[in-house]
Subunit: 165 residues, 2 copies
């Protein structure tokens, strides 16, 4: 998928980027974390060419980040579910989001909120809850539509936004 | 730099990827976090073509993630230092590294260790210190060569590995 591997680089960042270092791949995983499952959901949301989406989904299945599951028999239809390995990438996406929120703010406010599932408080980029002041683990986050998404008149996924657990 | 922007996407992940969603860019930032400053350091470490490196460094300066500083007058020479905005990406790189460590382990052990600067304990992917059991913020990490890097006979940067603060 990538032009080259980073020969001679003993580095887990380089290794991770060989697998997910392509922006469509990370955006597909973002949508999977937010609840997308079906080919059409990914395609419509991303505005990605069908052949590119097919190739990226296949790659993610081969690498074990997504699992392909049949959800209908006639006609046969498949959906793509995050595996634990795929879900483990959620912290990378959350940290990318926090960086984007901070350095490229959206006029109407943050597009997505990261909430502490237990108390509902907002979690900051240091993973500290603004309400109970506890440190929050990535698997204790609930990710939900924020003011920026609502201001733009956009809706979360039909299948519902899901927490990154 | 990217082929397209994600029109109609109100999303900080997409916005962040417009800026850093290219693998060389993230590897340049990784090396900057680990202490690289000079053009030759980046080039030799990455094995990247000179013209590509020049373009990527210029992009990162334009976007405010790196600052170009003259460190010698005759002949004029420049180095590239992380700005606070660039340093704010360290959590993304640390989380990518943790994911790579976990799912694509290096035979000799982890290439880099993330240590809690205060007590020297190893910090896990949930940002918990194995020694004092405290939660550790990203700016309290010391990143240092691990067994995997040593097993491969590789050295950290001449300028010394620096913590991601």
């Amino acid at each position: 998928m990538l032009d080259r591997t980073y020969d001679g680089q003993v580095c887990s960042v380089a290794r991770a980027l060989e697998v997910v270092g392509e922006r469509w791949t990370l955006l597909i995983l973002r949508d999977a974390v937010l609840g997308a499952r079906r080919f059409d959901e990914f395609r419509d949301r991303l505005g990605i060419a069908t052949n590119v989406l097919t190739a990226r989904l296949e790659w993610l299945v081969d690498e074990g980040l997504l699992e392909r599951r049949r959800y209908q028999e006639r006609p046969e239809r498949f959906e793509y579910a995050l595996t634990p390995k795929g879900r483990d990438l959620a912290p990378v996406l959350v940290m990318l989001m926090k960086w984007g929120d901070r350095h490229y703010p959206t006029p109407g406010g943050v597009p997505m909120l990261t909430l502490h599932r237990e108390c509902g408080g907002r979690v900051d980029r240091r993973m500290r809850c603004g309400r109970c002041t506890e440190h929050v683990n990535f698997d204790e986050l609930e990710i939900t539509a924020g003011p920026g998404l609502k201001a733009a008149g956009l809706e979360p996924f039909a299948s519902g936004l899901r927490a990154s657990r």
